[in-house]
Amino acid sequence: MTTSFPTRIKQALADPQLRSNFRGAMDFLRNKRKLAFSDENEWEALKKQGAAVRQDAIQRLPELLPQLEQQCLNNGIQVHWAEDGQEANNIVLSIAHQHQAQLVIKGKSMATEEIELNDFLEQHNIECIESDMGEYIVQLDNEKPSHIIMPAIHKNTAQITDLFENKLGISTPEGDVDALIGVGRTILREKFEQADIGISGVNFAIADTGTLCLVENEGNGRLSTTAPPVHIALMGIEKVIPNIKALPTLQKLLTRSATGQHITSYLNLISSPRKPGELDGPKEVHLILLDNGRAKISQDQQLQSTLACIRCGACMNHCPVYTRIGGHAYGSTYPGPIGQILTPQLKGLEQEGELLDACSLNGACGEACPVEIDLPELIRTLRHRRQVTRHKSWSLEAFVWFIWLQIHQHPRLYQLATRLAASFRALKLKTPTNWTRTRTMPKPAKSSFHQQMQSIQKLKVRVKNE
């Protein structure tokens, strides 16, 4: 990133179109989710089940992943393991080379964004087209997704209409969303027909049957994983669940949290490539199990619950910061609260720790999380880890808290400091500070609560003795 996080924040805040687009979108999504979970008791019960399933799965990863692998192999799905993004990209490339693939069509996958697969393939002269409407739109505009569920959420209809006109030379009537979707359908249909490889993500992988579960509304996921002769599914290792019994609960939590739908148009369960006698479906199915820092997270007891995430987007939808700065400001694949927690862990606290500052710890994210990840607590923990690893060099902030501690650990000193502040209460700060740019300074009271309680106490004693 060429600009800093604070700069990107300021740019976003100064963009009225962005502000309006995100405000509208987040309010819409919050309301939809609220309606979908209107039964409080059901929400509580589902959440607890979801949290338990995810926690159990994370803690049994060493056992579930080999089981998933074995079942997939039994079913005819080829399984690959990738320690990092580069390895995963190379696996995709080698499969592509084996098939002399020139065109790859993608269903939606945040994991492929994380490893920057599209750019990698383009560098190797393999065309890589996104088929999810939102992803297609951002790809057309040379952008990254700004939300993990609705990639083009930062754009409004007018902006997309202009984009299609500029980039595709296709005009559609003003405000006609159906027409825009029709354009996408026509263009991408051809790609589905022609593609050599289809690449998707995985929402959940069922270990005991070797089954990949994908949810979607558009049908591009099914087309990407059915039409091309080769299907490659890229999955973060944390997405495995032990058996199908948990699927109804997780599906409900995912779709209701993401878009307020009780179920998406399609839920697709893939267990094998085209079987003998079958007439369609990919002839080869590959599953790539991606680590890229996740196994390390699983080792950390305090941060392990990061992996419970089912990528619903509810946290960012409810985040008042994300609502105002949008997804691109974070400069990471995953924005919003989950991004602030995941990105520093995947890419390094040193480089990405600054993301953690953009949080008021209001707790709306944790409240909305359908698998009960205590997101605010994880943010606090990461802030602490960041401070601990930094303290080798004196920072101004560390000094401030050092002074703070001296004052607050010693009651007499504290009361003296309060009295001093009170006596300077008339002083007005001339230089603008981060506070005083938009607020007046609070005035210390003439007599602190301590002092007033002290005199009341003295009065009581006097009264008693009379």
Binding site: L65, M150, I160, I181, G219, P229, S265, L267, L269, L279
Partner: protein, 220 residues
């Protein structure tokens, strides 16, 4: 690759935690108790809320309604599967109804039929294995007789569902699935509405990539 597998598993095994194994109770009983009639009614309600067209028909003469649909909407080229008596019934009735109507039997592989599938088909009709009332969901198990693309590529997709096959909720289905867990079907599809998207300014639009029209015939 083996190196990666070993390295990843080694890292995962380094977890320090108490052994967490908790029996998780998933509610599968319908609540309140729904009888067959109520279950069907719920399914219909949910389907219609999601822009699915529903026809309740007698299984003996469902094809009359099917023919009507075909004629009303000028659906002329039909994609059907094989070896299924209900589908044969449907196919026969359709071709008898009008000289303009022709059938494409999905009997050759996808590669051979691709162009036809993508360009020439007006509608397809398939069976549903079961359905889930609580969410208004049809469950299809594509196979040799009814390949996957049938419910995906045509702009209009018609599903035949036996009323007696409707379940109340998803949990019931997974607790007692109508498939072998030892030999999983290559593909199981849960369909709850026509293809749609709200990716453009949260505005709902139908017919993104999958069928734009979904019609269900509930046969009793």
């Amino acid at each position: 690759m083996n190196k990666a597998r070993n390295a990843i598993l080694a890292r995962l095994k380094k977890q320090t935690k108490p052994n967490f194994s908790k029996h998780i109770q998933f509610a599968s009983k319908p609540s309140p108790h729904l009888n067959r009639g109520k279950t069907s009614a719920l399914l219909i309600k949910k389907l219609e809320e999601n822009r699915v067209e529903v026809h309740c028909v007698n299984s003996k003469n469902f094809e009359d309604t099917l023919v009507q649909v075909a004629l009303d909407r000028k659906l002329n080229t039909w994609l059907i599967g094989k070896n299924l008596s209900k589908i044969e019934q449907a196919g026969t009735a359709l071709t008898a109804a009008s000289p303009d109507i022709s059938l494409v039997h999905y009997t050759q592989d996808y590669e051979t039929l691709k162009k036809t599938l993508f360009h020439d088909i007006d509608a397809s009709v398939t069976l549903a294995k079961t359905a889930i009332a609580e969410t208004g969901t049809l469950v299809l198990i594509p196979d040799q007789n009814e390949p996957r693309m049938m419910s995906l590529v045509p702009p209009v997709h018609i599903v035949l569902l036996n009323e007696c096959d409707i379940l109340n909720n998803f949990q019931q289905l997974v607790d007692n699935p109508p498939w072998s867990t030892q030999k999983m079907p290559s593909n199981i599809v849960f369909i709850s509405s026509p293809s749609k998207t709200a990716d453009i300014q949260q505005t709902l639009a139908y017919g993104a990539h999958g069928p734009k029209t979904l019609i269900v015939f509930i046969l009793s």
